[in-house]
């Protein structure tokens, strides 16, 4: 697949010599082919999830086999119910995201609109916590949970996910808040607007999309997390990714059902991700790329 990148650079010359010539058409075709190759595993997962188990396990693949909801029916009512893990994931992701926003927005305010001294040191402290490998904090957290009786408790994950996402959210929110024009803040101050009024009518309209994007990205990261959820939870507080891994080992292999499960678990992330599409880069690059 690496070779695909090279013709792109070479053929680009052709495009520029005669604009919109045949080279351009080839490049567009190439872009489409690459896009389809990348989305193919996702489409294959969705298609297989609607096939019967026999058709799913055929070689060569039965692409046009009749569609059925069998896989989904098996997933939801076959063995262990997926609802408790899904609800656990939802609780952990939503509650931690709310906590993150409550902590990050004021912090970002104190790092951009009315910055403290040495604000960039503080900012980089937050970032540095994100760079230390989480696995190094796993054991102490496990021992703490064991002694405090918090093992297999979803609230422990809520706290951990909050700390995992807080640096990202602080960086993102700072980047969005610094987009608020200084002139607007000054004008509001001259007009004698108090903090609440400034927040509501000057800052909020500018940063609302940023808050939404931050929330969606934090939600995605919490929803995806596997390692800590696997070590710190068991039967009660198990999250959806943990359920997925145990689902395969305990059920043997049912490809259609597995694809249905993978699709159901990924659906919230796909929805959140496409909703945040425009701000995704800014969020993932911690606000440094706009």
């Amino acid at each position: 697949m690496t070779t695909l990148a090279r013709p792109a650079a070479v053929e680009e010359q052709a495009v520029n010599k005669k604009k919109d010539g045949r080279g351009g058409a080839w490049l567009s075709l190439l872009a489409w082919v690459v896009g389809i190759l990348f989305v193919l595993p996702v489409l294959w997962m969705v298609l297989t999830s609607f096939h019967s188990e026999t058709n799913a396990a055929q070689n060569p693949p039965a692409v046009f086999a009749p569609l059925t909801l069998e896989g989904y029916r098996e997933f939801f009512s076959g063995g262990a119910s997926p609802w408790p893990p899904l609800l656990n994931s939802l609780t952990a992701s939503v509650v931690s995201t709310i906590l993150v926003l409550l902590l990050a927005i004021p912090a970002a305010y104190a790092l951009s609109i009315k910055p403290v001294k040495k604000w960039s040191d503080v900012l980089f402290f937050f970032l540095s916590t994100k760079m230390l490998p989480v696995v190094a904090g796993l054991l102490p957290l496990y021992l703490f949970a064991q002694n405090a009786g918090l093992l297999d408790n979803i609230w422990l994950l809520v706290i951990f996910y909050t700390s995992m996402n807080l640096p990202i959210a602080v960086w993102m929110m700072r980047s969005f808040l610094s987009e608020v024009p200084v002139e607007m803040l000054e004008a509001a101050a001259v007009d004698g607007a108090g903090l609440v009024k400034t927040l509501r009518s000057v800052i909020a309209p500018v940063v609302m999309p940023g808050i939404a994007a931050t929330a969606l990205i934090c939600f995605i990261f919490s929803w995806n997390e596997l390692l800590f959820a696997r070590v710190l939870t068991a039967t009660v507080a198990e999250t959806a990714p943990v359920f997925l891994t145990s689902f395969v080992t305990s059920q043997g292999l049912f490809l259609a059902q597995l694809c249905a499960a993978a699709f159901v678990v990924s659906l919230p992330v796909l929805v959140a991700g496409f909703a945040a599409q425009d701000k995704l880069v800014q969020g993932l690059s911690l606000g440094s790329v706009k």
Binding site: N59, P133, V231, P241, G273
Partner: protein, 319 residues
Amino acid sequence: MTSVAEQSGTKTGTPPPTPGAARRASAWARRAPLLPALIFMIIVTQLPFVATLVISFMDWNAYYPDERGFAGFDNFARVFTDVNMRDAVWTTILLTAGVVLISVVLGLGIALLLDRKFRGRGAVRTMMIAPFLVVPVAAALIWKHALYNPEYGLFNGALTWIWGLFGSDNPPQPDWISNAPLWSVIFALVWQWTPFMMLILLAGLQGRPLDVIEAARIDGANSWQIFRSMTLPHLRQYLELGALLGSIYIVQNFDAVFTITSGGLGTANLPYTIYQIFYQAHDYGRASAAAVVVVIGTIIIATFALRTVSSLVKEETRR
């Protein structure tokens, strides 16, 4: 919290009656919104690292609770002499470098393709992002069972189909994961991370000064020259950023290794190995020592990463 911040809002406007005390109060009012987040982070992320550091100097195995005590540098000595551990370091480097390099190159190529106007550009961009939005465990499971599986995976299925087109009923049916375990993990991760690189590089491309490029073109520079001497230097910091952020995430990868190979066949990276020492061998001392080593390694990479990020974040002194 709002009331504290509000005071600061009014105070900055009015001249303070007693300069020293008021300035201090105002400084604290500025700090107040920051403190909850800061304190929370210190407690939840810094304390466990201190604990890890302490445990790394201890003899502590959960299977032998009576033998707990001070171990000096024993755990570190065991970490550095352990063959598994050295393999894990090497695997981590290969895995991280492989995924980052391939996905950066692919991401650059695709970003260049998408930096043109063509019919369906938005649709292609959306298709490209999709792999990044599949839950990592789900993606790893799909790659393992629906794509790599030697009997009914899509790859071998496609081989059967293509060979069938030429009338052959004896297509090659490799067992991808057993034949090339590390590459299997690398490709599944490249698929997930290329969109990330592509997005960052596309943003970089769209921030190019177009008038300068147009001027160069008028002066007779061809596309390759423009790419070499203008686009690439402009993209440099975006390439660095993508590679460094990617490294930080992929060094820590657990999901793909755990799911696709369960760390077998020489694919156990450091996070997986530490997980095993701690979760299966219950050797807390050794797991902590390994974790400390990983932290030190990460700090070295992170120092470079921080420098890159800070060069991108332009010092804002306007407030």
